[in-house]
């Protein structure tokens, strides 16, 4: 469990401090601190059940009794604020007696079914009873029992969600689950009903506990009342050991702990490893259950090589020989520029760097990229968007920001951890929070104001905010004049008209930006994926300048994947920044002069048959890269394709050689989170079968090509370290940038904007292999706003035909809970859905038409 740290405590200034005595020791802490926190600081342990470091105290269990001199009764220390001169005893006889009584009371109706309870060995109630309880009870009556239909009396196991099982008899009513759900996650699918001895925790009537943070409820339950199918009855906790790791599905670098068993070489679960700087100890479900792919029986365990049109199992030696020969031929015949590589931003630093070295030194080619699912890519590494990306960002700084703006981000689906952070600021602070998106999202529930703009009008929204500030004299007039020179948009009224956001709202944001002392402003995937992301970034850079945000704001485009930031810093782009290129040239003594191609350019050249050999490490472009047919047709034309992945995918299907890739749990790796913080994921288990980590694969391919190319691990690590040390912040230009609003041409009949998203419980192309996550969602769907659904007479579950100019798919309908305006959302995480076939490579906003399929 997370420990309270100074950060969660009120700030220290002299007149704010209070001195008290705990067990004879004097201590001085800030006003507003609780006695429990003060004791913790001193290293004095007080037992608790209902207290949680990240939730408001409720004083429900009374286990944390302490004696305070001059106060008549025992006090609950978790809810008692310190006062000057207080004298506290945490271990007096009265306290001990009090605790005994509380344990006896809590156990009144408890079934004492420890032998069959999965929490045994890590149960707070078991432990605290042993430490502080009595072995007898004065309660001689029949215990109150919840009995589910068809169950015997002791077992009341009822599934209340795809993963969670509830046993009401074991529940001690600490309310931690319900509190965390409402307070920390903003979810309302769990409640506490009735009162007294029959009070019970349960799913909201008629609903399931299936929110994207629901796994945390199981982790914080102090007893065996909430368990999950992931871990339950698979192993006893004392048979496992732990390995620290980090999440591979989000860019926050959420700290986790693997519970594994060495003899079986198997991971059994993931829990939090609380870090106050990053995650506050909360895990999104995708982080918690996503580990299951490591154990999946579908994993690739040996290399496969294509013989007579069929992929058959082979040894590494055979595979490498073929790779060396075929890549060697292409290199010799056509030159290394006819070879390209796409690597996954989920790989660790060493793997990314080894791949970069393989391409640039081995093939003398600059055809390398890590962005396997973005259509529009900036050519230059110092483009406005890349500048925005490079800005420093601290997750923990969200907590005390007084203005928070999220722009173009379906927050929970792409930055769940940051959503929780913002929610905390919303609960505990008085920040002005704005969500600015092309459709309503759930983050509206933590926003003071939600701005919904028309899809594809991002720069007009930003210009509108700026112009409103100029018109209403909220910013320096001279700067305003300069701004206007570069912006064809005449007035905020005009911007309001184009973007569909009313002027009043634009002004409200402008006011906040003008007044804010500590501002957090970040953009998400809707901006990153936009064809006009450089234009939007230019508008944002202008805004930064106009409002004079320097020194009082962190403004950045957040990275999306576990190591996107690392890939950027290590130069896994076709055109890295000059400092990076210089460094690489220094390290390697050479650097290719050949033209550099990003993913999109490479895909085009593959189709034109100019790139003939291709290496893919951990990416699945056939599934994720927009315009599936385009990519597939191209890749089929390649002379030679090598793909390394954890599973057989749409992309490995087309490969000449398939290599089994080790997962992040199977080797030690370092990853750079969205803040630029490098963190280690230790090796928890041995790689499955003959799988190998990415850096080893890249090194072996290099060696097969040219024995001189051998890269040893130390060397890779030392080069990585030197690259990461380079300052990666790219300064903003000295003047306002040109920002001319851009619009898409009409798309005729197709006028319903479509956004491709990640499902609440998935991320990327691998998580569908995790059974627990598949329990939440395993099939694609189309999310339709209620208004539109009723117009088109579409009900939940109906089959819907979705057509764009280039493709057509049929998907079951889901009625959207949060989105009211006219857009539809489709998750990309299910290989059966084919959704990328709807996307066009050159459009700013994808548009479709939908209709109900008549049975």
């Amino acid at each position: 469990m997370a420990e309270a740290t100074k950060k969660d405590m009120p700030t220290e200034t002299a007149e704010n401090m209070v001195t008290l005595t705990i067990n004879g020791r004097e201590t001085t802490v800030p006003k507003g601190t609780t006695v429990l926190q003060a004791a913790k600081e001193l290293g004095v342990h007080i037992p608790t059940f209902c207290w949680h470091p990240k939730l408001k105290p409720v004083g429900a269990c009374r286990m944390c009794y302490v004696e305070v001199e001059k106060m008549p009764k025992l006090q609950v220390s978790c809810a008692l604020e310190v006062m000057d001169g207080m004298v506290v005893h945490t271990d007096s006889d009265t306290v001990k007696q009090g605790r005994k009584a509380i344990i006896e009371f809590i156990l009144l109706n408890h079934p004492l079914d420890c032998p069959t309870c999965d929490k045994g060995g890590e149960c707070d109630l078991q432990n605290l009873t042993f430490a502080h309880g009595v072995d007898d009870s004065r309660f001689e009556f029949q215990k109150y029992r919840f009995v589910d239909e068809g169950m015997t009396t002791t077992f009341d196991d009822r599934r209340i969600g795809p993963e969670i099982i509830l046993n009401r008899n074991r529940c001690i009513l600490c309310y931690k689950c319900v509190r965390a759900n409402k307070e920390a996650f903003g979810e309302y699918d769990l409640g506490v009903y009735e009162r007294g001895s029959i009070a019970e925790i349960n799913a909201a009537p008629g609903e399931q506990v299936d929110n994207p943070f629901s796994g945390n409820l199981v982790e914080i339950c102090p007893v065996g009342a909430l368990t999950n199918s992931d871990w339950r009855y698979k192993i006893r906790v004392w048979l496992t050991s732990t390995t620290p790791s980090i999440c591979n599905y989000t860019s926050s670098g959420i700290n986790t702990l693997f519970f594994k068993e060495n003899h079986h070489n198997k991971i059994y679960r993931v829990t939090s490893r609380p870090s106050d700087d990053i995650d506050d100890g909360w895990l999104p479900d995708v982080t918690r259950y996503g580990y299951q792919i490591v154990n999946s029986p579908d994993r690739l365990t040996t290399p496969l090589v294509k013989k007579e049109g069929k992929q058959v199992e082979a040894t590494w030696e055979e595979a490498l020989e073929i790779i060396g020969k075929r890549f060697g031929e292409i290199k010799e015949r056509l030159g290394g520029v006819c070879v390209g590589a796409l690597v996954s931003p989920g790989l660790d630093n060493a793997s990314l760097h080894a791949a970069s070295r393989l391409m640039r030194v081995g093939f003398k080619s600059n055809n390398i990229d890590f962005r396997g699912d973005y259509r529009y890519l900036p050519e230059s590494s110092e483009s406005p968007f890349m500048r925005l990306c490079s800005r420093p960002f601290k997750i923990a700084d969200i907590d005390d920001s007084d203005v928070i703006v999220t722009f173009g981000s379906d927050l929970i689906r792409e930055h769940a951890n940051e959503y929780l952070r913002i929610r905390k600021a919303f609960n505990f602070g008085n920040a002005r929070i704005f969500a600015v998106n092309p459709y309503q999202t759930k983050s509206a529930d933590v926003s003071s104001l939600e701005l919904v703009y028309l899809p594809g009008t991002e720069e007009s929204v930003v210009n509108g905010i700026c112009l409103a500030a100029i018109e209403d004299n909220l910013v320096d007039a001279k700067r305003g004049e300069k701004f206007k020179l570069k912006t064809p948009t005449k007035s905020s009224a005009e911007a309001a008209k184009v973007s569909g956001v009313d002027r009043e709202s634009l002004r409200t944001v402008a006011e906040a930006l003008a007044e804010g002392k500590k501002i957090t402003f970040f953009t998400g995937e809707i901006i990153t994926r936009s064809r006009q992301r450089d234009l939007i970034a230019s508008a944002l850079i202008n805004l930064h300048r106009l409002f004079g945000l320097k020194g009082r704001a962190q403004m950045s485009a957040l990275a999306r994947y576990a190591n996107s930031k690392g890939a950027e810093k290590l130069g896994l782009l076709p055109n890295p920044r000059t400092v990076v290129v210089d460094k690489l040239r220094g390290l390697w003594g050479e650097y290719p002069e050949s033209p550099a191609r990003n993913t999109d350019a490479m895909m085009a050249l593959i189709k034109k048959e100019e790139i003939k050999g291709f290496l893919i490490l951990g990416s699945n472009p056939v599934m994720l890269y927009p315009d599936r047919e385009f990519v597939k047709e191209g890749i089929e034309k390649l002379d030679f394709l090598v793909v390394a992945d954890l599973f057989e995918t749409e992309t490995t299907e087309l490969a000449d050689v398939v290599l089994p890739l080790a997962s992040w749990a199977e080797y030690e790796g370092y990853y750079v989170n969205l803040e630029g913080r490098t963190q280690k994921a230790a090796r928890a288990v041995k790689p499955i079968g003959q799988a190998k980590p990415g850096y080893e694969i890249a090194s072996l391919i290099g060696e097969a090509l040219d024995p001189e190319m051998f890269q040893n691990e130390q060397q890779i690590h030392s080069e990585v370290r030197q690259l990461l040390e380079l300052d990666s912040v790219i300064a903003y230009p000295d003047d306002f940038l040109e920002v001319k609003a851009d619009t898409d041409g009409s798309q005729g009949d197709y006028n319903l904007p479509l956004y491709i998203i990640d499902d609440w419980h998935h991320s990327g192309h691998l998580t569908e292999k995790a059974p627990s996550l598949a329990n939440f969602a395993s099939e694609p769907y189309i999310e339709i706003p209620p208004q539109l659904a009723s117009e088109l007479k579409i009900a939940h579950g109906d089959s819907v035909r979705v057509e764009s100019e280039v493709g057509k798919v049929i998907l079951p309908a889901r009625i959207s809970e949060h989105t009211q305006n006219n857009v539809v959302l489709v998750p990309r995480n299910f290989s059966s859905s084919n959704v990328t076939s709807l996307l066009m490579r050159k459009k700013r906003v994808d548009r479709v038409k939908i209709s109900k399929v008549d049975e």
Partner: protein
């Protein structure tokens, strides 16, 4: 909608007085209860939409308070307190007496739909224990004779 337009209007007026939406839950439930004589899941959903508070919060509050009967009950809801003070002064035997007298078990309703019998936690009238509440009225310092009299009066009024 099960709630009538008048009820919805009343709920809106009542809840508008509170700075926090959640504070409107009990007044809203009271209005619904007065209209229907009971509340249930469907009503929670309707109230949730009217006062814009998550449905589960309404279910929680409604089930916490025994004053809100959860489904259609008899004309008279007899709530006998079985908590400490009342228990010490014979609540249990009072409940059995009522069960015999009405020919139903705790939690049931008489065939003529007149009486529903339940037992509840402390109703805050310990000094006059044992006690019960029938619809909106307290009946205190109970004895078997008193109970006989009360039931008779109610029957004759019905």
């Amino acid at each position: 909608m099960i709630l009538t337009q008048e009820s919805i209007q009343e709920i809106k007026e009542k809840t508008a007085k509170y700075p926090r939406k959640k504070s409107g839950i009990l007044p809203a439930l009271t209005v619904a209860y007065r209209q229907l004589g009971y509340v249930d899941d469907e009503i929670y959903h309707e109230i949730s939409k009217v006062i814009k508070v998550p449905y589960v919060e309404i279910a929680e509050a409604a089930t916490f308070y025994t004053m809100f009967p959860k489904k259609s009950r008899g004309k008279y809801l007899i709530q006998v307190c079985h908590n400490i003070s009342c228990a010490l002064l014979g609540a249990d035997s009072l409940i059995s007496y009522l069960e015999d007298k009405l020919g139903i078990k705790k939690g049931e309703t008489t065939a003529d739909n007149l009486f529903t019998l339940i037992s509840v936690e402390c109703l805050g009238s310990c000094s006059t224990a044992p006690m019960m509440q029938i619809n909106h009225d307290f009946h205190e310092n109970l004895t078997r004779e008193k109970v006989d009299g009360i039931l008779e009066t109610l029957r004759s009024e019905a």
